[in-house]
Amino acid sequence: MSVVEVIFLLLSLVAVGSALLVVTTRNMVHAALWLVVTLGSIAGCFLVLAAEFVAWVQILIYVGAVVVLLLFALMLTKAPTGVQSDLNVRQVLPAAVVGALVAALLGTTVVAGFSGVRIDLDNAVVGSAELTGATIFQKWVLPFEVLSVLLLAALVGAIVLSRRGDR
């Protein structure tokens, strides 16, 4: 087992453990902070998998922007910062069963389907900013522009929704 594989396993363990804490903790602010740990370790997994630019974008947008937005929403909705007992629905068991079934189904599918396949990370093409930029602006220009229109629509929608008063 190489060093890269050990690093990936450790990052995976951190990601899964902190994700479990995100969905089980009884403190809402702690859930947002555990989400930071999860997203950060996923960014580490991206780095191991030779997706350098995606990893930095993950840290910039998810850890930097999305979690801050979630914390803002928790503050603006006056979420209590202490431990709460009523964060979960009453029927926890069916939800746990569904989650376990999803994990078992997807897990057995991918393990059975790709058990003999290996990623050759030594010769992998590192997705640097230069390569990603060239790829996007040479081959994915139309989806990129459509995405910019989508962002504009989301921006306008968010402003219209959160405007108060004269409507």
Binding site: Y62, R118, I119
Partner: protein
């Protein structure tokens, strides 16, 4: 590295996200479950990109696109959550059942609750 390691990690994170969406009552915590699911898909994309190494780099490019779409989704969803908080005073998705088709259920909030509250009752501003 075996290809199924990142795929299994993605499956586990997706299942945890599904559990979070199903089990949480607070709308913001439901959104965190959605974020976990989107990230699980991103791990799949990046892993297959590292495996196939196609010229178009579609895996990493689509991972970037998914991140952008997730950011837009979170922005809109938080605007909606703040709107619901302003009109209802809570963001408990279990109690937001005015659109449900069971009008004799006592747990359903009365329809008047959908009327926006007056400005003086706004809950967002900071009180001394």
């Amino acid at each position: 590295m075996p290809l199924w390691w990142p795929l299994l990690l993605a499956s586990l994170l997706f299942a945890i996200g599904v559990y979070g969406v199903l089990v949480r009552r607070n709308a913001v915590l439901v959104l965190m479950g959605v974020e976990l699911m989107l990230n699980a898909v991103n791990i799949n994309m990046v892993a297959f990109d590292a495996h196939f190494r196609d010229v178009l780099h579609s895996g990493q490019t689509f991972a970037l696109f998914i991140i952008v779409i997730a950011a837009a989704e979170v922005g809109l969803a938080l605007a909606i959550v703040l709107m619901v908080f302003r009109t209802h005073g809570h963001i408990d998705v279990d109690r937001l059942r005015a659109l449900a088709d069971r009008d004799d259920d006592p747990a359903v909030e009365p329809v008047e609750a959908f009327e926006p509250v007056e400005e003086s009752d706004s809950s967002v501003e900071v009180r001394p």
